[in-house]
């Protein structure tokens, strides 16, 4: 089969890899029909984190089940499924707790496992990991495009909002206008926030934020941005969604939080090396909640809203490529020409 592999910074290529096969009785093999390129893929693409050369990439798979192991009960060949960016067994302490990213039997896509930016993936723990799309929606292209962000960014934005404690009537500030930040706006709005203030630097993305329910946008930079957000909230917000993971954005999140408030953070903190934000948070008793999003815990609820038409994150896909177009998709993400790239694969 054909799949995207990492060959070094700035170099993702489509290569031939062996077709994945059932190895354990709990595995399934899925033919990938839709996947995406993630902001977090840019960390290795830019050489900022290590990634094994020659390893497959991608972690947002949706597709059709082709084959299942003898012990798989919840899906069968022909089913349309999607999977979170992390693999989980569904029955350990942490899966039971809704913390599927800490599954003791789990892991991630890519590296030693199949990558989602390829024609087929072996799914370990298929019963715990795969989520079936109901048959009546299984071939509705519009629905599938709206469901694809559940594999990562919508669920991650939702995790930020949940971690920040957003509820009905609240005021929330969302730091970051990438795909996760935009999904954070959508999630805060869905959770009943009365006021959602989106902070970012790109007018086209802030337009999507408005479409997703932002009542205010702040496009200034640095201290000025934090001051503007504090003015809008009369001294800071009790609920702040940090959706970037950079040192500056952690600082902004700390600065715009109201004393006693909560920052929900979901951006991989790969760029955070100093802790100025920590002193700010300590002095104000601002809580820091969140982490890597336990997508599997949220997918069922979010899918229900997408299927009933009240939740649609698909505007984050501003570019679509086929499998051969994956390298071009990385470039577009890297150069911020696309908010998020969808990959459509016809086998």
């Amino acid at each position: 089969m054909q799949a995207a592999v990492y060959r070094g910074p700035g170099d993702v290529r489509i290569e031939s890899l062996p077709d994945p096969e059932i190895e354990e009785s709990t595995d399934a093999v899925v033919r990938v029909t839709h996947t995406a390129i993630c902001g977090s893929d840019l960390w290795f693409y830019r050489g900022e984190t290590d990634y094994e050369e020659g390893a497959p990439v991608g972690h947002e798979p949706m597709g059709i089940v082709e084959e299942v192991g003898d012990d798989v009960r919840s899906v069968e060949p022909g089913d349309r499924v999607l999977a979170p960016f992390s693999i989980s067994c569904g029955h350990c302490e942490f899966c039971r707790k809704g913390l599927h990213t800490s599954c003791v039997n789990g892991g991630g896509w890519g590296g030693d496992e199949s990558g989602a930016q390829g024609e087929r993936i072996r799914t370990p723990h298929a019963d715990g990991t795969l989520v079936r799309v109901p048959d009546r929606y299984a071939d509705d292209e519009d629905v599938l495009e709206s469901l694809l962000p559940l594999t990562d960014v919508l669920s991650t934005g939702h995790h930020a909002a949940v971690s920040a404690g957003v509820g009905p009537g609240d005021t929330a500030v969302v730091v970051g206008d990438g795909a996760v930040g935009l999904c954070g706006v959508l999630a805060a709005n869905r959770l009943g926030a009365e006021r959602v203030i989106a902070m970012g630097h790109h007018e086209d993305r802030l337009d999507i934020a408005r479409e997703f329910g932002a009542t205010d946008v702040v496009s200034a930079r640095g201290d000025e941005a934090a001051e503007e957000a504090r003015d809008l909230t009369h001294g800071g917000a009790n609920h702040v969604l940090e959706c970037v993971g950079a040192e500056s954005s952690m600082g902004t999140a700390a600065d715009v939080a109201r004393p006693g408030g909560t920052v929900g953070y979901v951006g991989v903190p790969a760029g955070v090396e100093t802790t100025g934000f920590l002193g700010t948070m300590f002095g104000k008793n601002v809580s820091l909640e969140g982490g890597v999003a336990p997508v599997r815990a949220y997918v069922d609820d979010l899918m229900a809203d997408v299927l009933q038409g009240t939740l649609d994150p698909s505007p984050i896909f501003t570019k679509t490529v086929d499998l051969d177009g994956v390298p071009e998709g990385y470039e577009a993400m890297d150069e911020r020409e696309a908010v998020k790239v969808m990959v459509r694969i016809d086998a």
Copy 2:
């Protein structure tokens, strides 16, 4: 009057300062009878944080009210009182929320205000700040010695336990065997923890931890210590009290936390410059709660327990000096010859 002032790193002296006077109608002047030297005083004493030369020091006052302004209602001359390390008005948004350290009218002792390591202090916002000791206990020296830690370290250890979410039947790990860590053990025990694991490096202090209810102690260092604590908790604790504020202790707290658990942190993060702990916490969805302790919110409850004889933090005072002995007290704290030093002042 005589009072301790800062004259540079390693140099705290007793000098003559003008007697404080009522300046605002909400002020009180208190004659200090008991105070203490704090681990956080060592930051400026060691030159690790800035402090104005010639400024008075100390922030843990207990004494007798000498004079009150016209608008003070809750205390009168002759009352025995204590005050938290932060001044608070008692009626702003944050005081109402129990977050007195973020009081919009508040501040701290020392610097431009009086220092608690002196014969007298002017107390701004006396109604909001001062806590009266009931008359029947007002001259009981044993009780006063047990109440003095409420001004800072007991309330701070309690804040760590509350922030870490400790409740009946829980297992808690306390990182640090200084006065705050020991008070954290006491507080976790008081909140009903079934198992309290104290981590530290000093046998004499760990003995106090045992006296305070620690069921296990871990005295190894670094990775070995974290491994031992994880073994004792079968994979980490859901409730971790970080009571130091150093980079290594933040790392240990993150390492010993169970996925989905909470670290309550109360050590001023003056020594934390990098964020290795942040990646660890992010990956495990460990929450970071706490900050500078809103002592005033906790004093009434803790005092009730001290007065009924079920709570006694006084063993943390392993050395007592008079006002002239304050410089010697700093030395003893700096050289770890004393856990915490009490200062008795006879006017």
